[in-house]
């Protein structure tokens, strides 16, 4: 299993029946392909739909139905469209159960930076700040370390997406839960040792006596 699939499968296990879920652009979108059996969730795209589905077949694309990444998507029976104001009322008002976001850095306070590298990448925050601030649960899915080194750091050096403490970080190496007491190592990826995780992490991790392997199929 490649790293991205591993991450997507592990994140998918966090989804519960009936959840309203918003998946960020990139890695997070893969989560939709790995829903556990028997789990039905509703995917929101912040550009204005609840109930989007995978890309429709050839010849069936609708010019007016895209996700927030600009990809043509489908709509399931029972879908609802929303203007941007309603869409963000759902996000900011605590009606969105889970958002899965990509990450550039997460720090010991559980704060996320994921939208800007000063002088290098200034794409704008889009809906990311609202999602990170307003969703009931924020799950960050990202590679454990990047070219620039550790991404799970003592304190974010990149501009924050939100001051809010996110709820879970899932990487190809580990599952980490930010708490008031700091970052707790909850699970290891199959075949990955605690030492390897600690070595790839700049932030201090609280390591329980028992750190089970990720349960994925």
């Amino acid at each position: 299993m490649d790293d991205k699939t591993l991450i997507a499968k592990r994140v998918a296990r966090e989804l519960k029946n009936g959840d309203l879920v918003n998946l960020g652009i990139g890695l997070p979108t893969l989560v939709a392909n790995h829903l556990p059996q028997g789990i039905e969730v509703y995917f929101q795209s912040e550009n204005g739909i609840i109930g989007m589905s995978a890309v429709p077949g050839a010849g069936l694309i609708d010019d007016y139905l895209i996700d927030a990444g600009g990809i043509f998507v489908g709509a399931l029976p029972g879908a609802a469209t929303l203007d941007s104001s309603m869409s963000f009322s759902l996000i900011r008002g605590g009606h969105l159960d889970i958002t899965v976001l990509g990450g550039l850095q997460v720090d010991e306070k559980g704060r996320l930076a994921n939208w800007m590298i000063p002088g290098k990448m200034v794409p704008g925050m889009g809906g990311g700040m609202d999602l990170a601030t307003g969703a009931r649960r924020v799950i960050v899915s990202m590679t454990h370390a990047g070219k620039g080194g550790a991404k799970i750091v003592k304190e974010c050096t990149l501009p924050l997406t939100s001051e809010r403490r996110i709820d879970l970080v899932v990487t190809e190496m580990a599952v980490i839960e930010p708490t008031e007491q700091g970052l707790v190592l909850k699970e290891r990826a199959p075949g990955v040792s605690i030492n390897q995780i600690v070595a790839a992490t700049e932030a201090t991790l609280t390591i329980p006596d028992n750190v089970p392997e990720m349960a994925i199929d």
């Binding site: 795209s45 912040e46 550009n47 204005g48 739909i49 609708d62 010019d63 007016y64 139905l65 895209i66 996700d67 927030a68 600009g70 709509a75 469209t81 929303l82 203007d83 941007s84 104001s85 963000f88 996000i91 900011r92 800007m116 990448m121 200034v122 794409p123 704008g124 925050m125 889009g126 809906g127 990311g128 700040m129 609202d130 601030t133 307003g134 501009p159 924050l160 997406t161 939100s162 001051e163």
Partner: protein, 222 residues
């Protein structure tokens, strides 16, 4: 008194230096013909309030950027258009980035006569710079100010002869909010239908907000 005008008339109505709001999300729901005509006419020094600047090769706001019609951009996301980023870095384009949910609330506030709204989004980030922070019941909020425009340029699915609008799927997005916030509102519908064809409960933007309707591309059946 018909609200129907030609594409050329619509674009000519908007002067150099105007502040415009443009609906759409990655050009879906944008008034594409009108943006193309504005670019063709070589409009200059616009202030553009919009979600994003579309993608290169895709219609929509990208045409205004590529043709250097815009001096000042207020948007939530420009990552899909490298030319926008290039102009910003080169100092040719002033860019104000705003969280998407705050952007839409600012537009709604402008259109609804509100003096501002308090949002938790952006507290403690660079999005808070220059904004007043207020604590309410122990929680921090930013005071976001209203946005208005000289013109709101709106894409719609249908307009009736009077200007009642509906929208298709994710082409709705910012359009109904901007229809509230433009001093003059120009709608570019895909279809123009007789009055009464859009049932009252399906009208999303009531006709009283719409000043002009851009005529069909061509007249059929005659």
């Amino acid at each position: 008194m018909s609200k129907a005008i030609s594409l050329t008339q619509a674009a000519e109505m908007i002067p150099d230096g105007a502040t415009i709001m443009v609906g759409g999300f990655l050009a879906v729901g944008s008034p594409r013909r009108l943006l193309q005509e504005l670019a063709r006419q070589g409009r200059k020094h616009l202030t553009l309030i919009t979600n994003d600047t579309s993608k290169p090769g895709v219609m929509g706001n990208a045409l205004l950027i590529e043709n250097k019609c815009v001096d000042h951009l207020i948007a939530s996301h420009i990552g899909t258009n490298p030319e926008t980023q290039r102009q910003m870095i080169a100092g040719e384009l002033k860019v104000e980035l705003c969280p998407q949910g705050s952007l839409v609330e600012r537009i709604r506030a402008g259109g609804a006569g509100l003096g501002g709204v308090l949002t938790p989004t952006g507290v403690g980030t660079v999005a808070a710079e220059g904004k007043r922070e207020m604590e309410i019941d122990g929680k921090k909020f930013l005071l976001e100010s209203p946005l208005k425009a000289d013109f709101a340029l709106i894409g719609a699915r249908r307009s009736d002869y009077r200007g009642n609008l509906d929208y298709a799927l994710t082409a709705r997005n910012f359009n109904p909010l901007m229809a509230l916030a433009g001093a003059t509102v120009i709608a570019e519908p895909n279809e123009i239908v007789p009055i009464g064809v859009i049932p009252p409960d399906e009208v999303v933007t009531p006709h009283v907000l719409v000043d002009y309707i851009i005529e069909r591309r061509q007249s059929n059946g005659r």
